[in-house]
Symmetry: C2
């Protein structure tokens, strides 16, 4: 990615999928900080909705709506930070991230698909459907963590 012409051409191609690396020159340590930041923020804006879906706290449509809007962006942010250059930096990721690449991509896609569905449902406003979809998003988080995050 050191040739600017190739980088830009690649960026244009990938932009269609909204999955372009935001800053291809970033150092591996920075990439790790960025992807960890995105994961932490996914938690910030997902856990309150999950608590509502699980009946642990009262349902608040405006909180869920705001959080889902944020989550829709956050769900796309971590993945370009898992470059091979970050492979040897100790994090909570398992080595499977870099070896089981097809499953890894599939897990990201499933999560993003579930979040997109949740985004659509929050626009319609059916509380029961939204709650069920929040739990579907949660399942996709857990499914990915099963293989790609160290046990806590």
């Amino acid at each position: 990615m050191n040739n600017p012409k190739i980088s830009m051409a690649l960026a244009v191609v990938l932009a269609a999928a909204w999955s372009i690396p935001a800053w291809s020159q970033a150092r591996p340590e920075v990439l790790v900080k960025q992807r960890q930041g995105a994961m932490v923020l996914q938690g910030k804006y997902f856990y309150p909705s999950r608590a509502m879906a699980q009946g642990k706290t009262a349902y608040d449509a405006s909180v869920v709506g705001r959080n889902v809007t944020y989550l829709d962006s956050l769900a796309r942010m971590p993945w370009d930070g898992f470059t091979p250059a970050t492979k040897d930096i100790k994090t909570q990721s398992t080595p499977a991230v870099f070896s089981e690449t097809a499953k890894w991509k599939e897990s990201q896609d499933r999560f993003q698909t579930e979040v997109t569905r949740l985004t659509e449902l929050t626009r319609k406003g059916d509380e029961a459907a939204i709650k069920a979809q929040i739990l579907a998003v949660d399942k996709s988080c857990g499914g990915c963590h099963e293989t790609f995050r160290e046990r806590q």
Copy 2:
């Protein structure tokens, strides 16, 4: 904030301004991680646009558009993490965050206003206007860091 009824009532009131704390039970260390994550991601999705506005890299409307969409959410995320409970945790924030509260709030508002303007301009697509507004956002970042972030 330990009374759930009061917490929820307060959440409902604040939700109108989209500035509700996402997770009022979060520990101070978690709040710091979340707000740092948001700041790091603001950098991830702002610096490439700034490089384009400064003429250092080629302008790519699709990259800027995607990044500005993300930035519009990220610009709202850090602020509820600066609670008094986090005051004694060593970070890059200056003590002014907790003493010059009016100026602190004003700096956040200015940044968010500039990002909102940038979001509107990217929808219209005038490259020169977008570039000028990217630099206005950058100025609002710098203005805030001047007082509220330790010198690097």
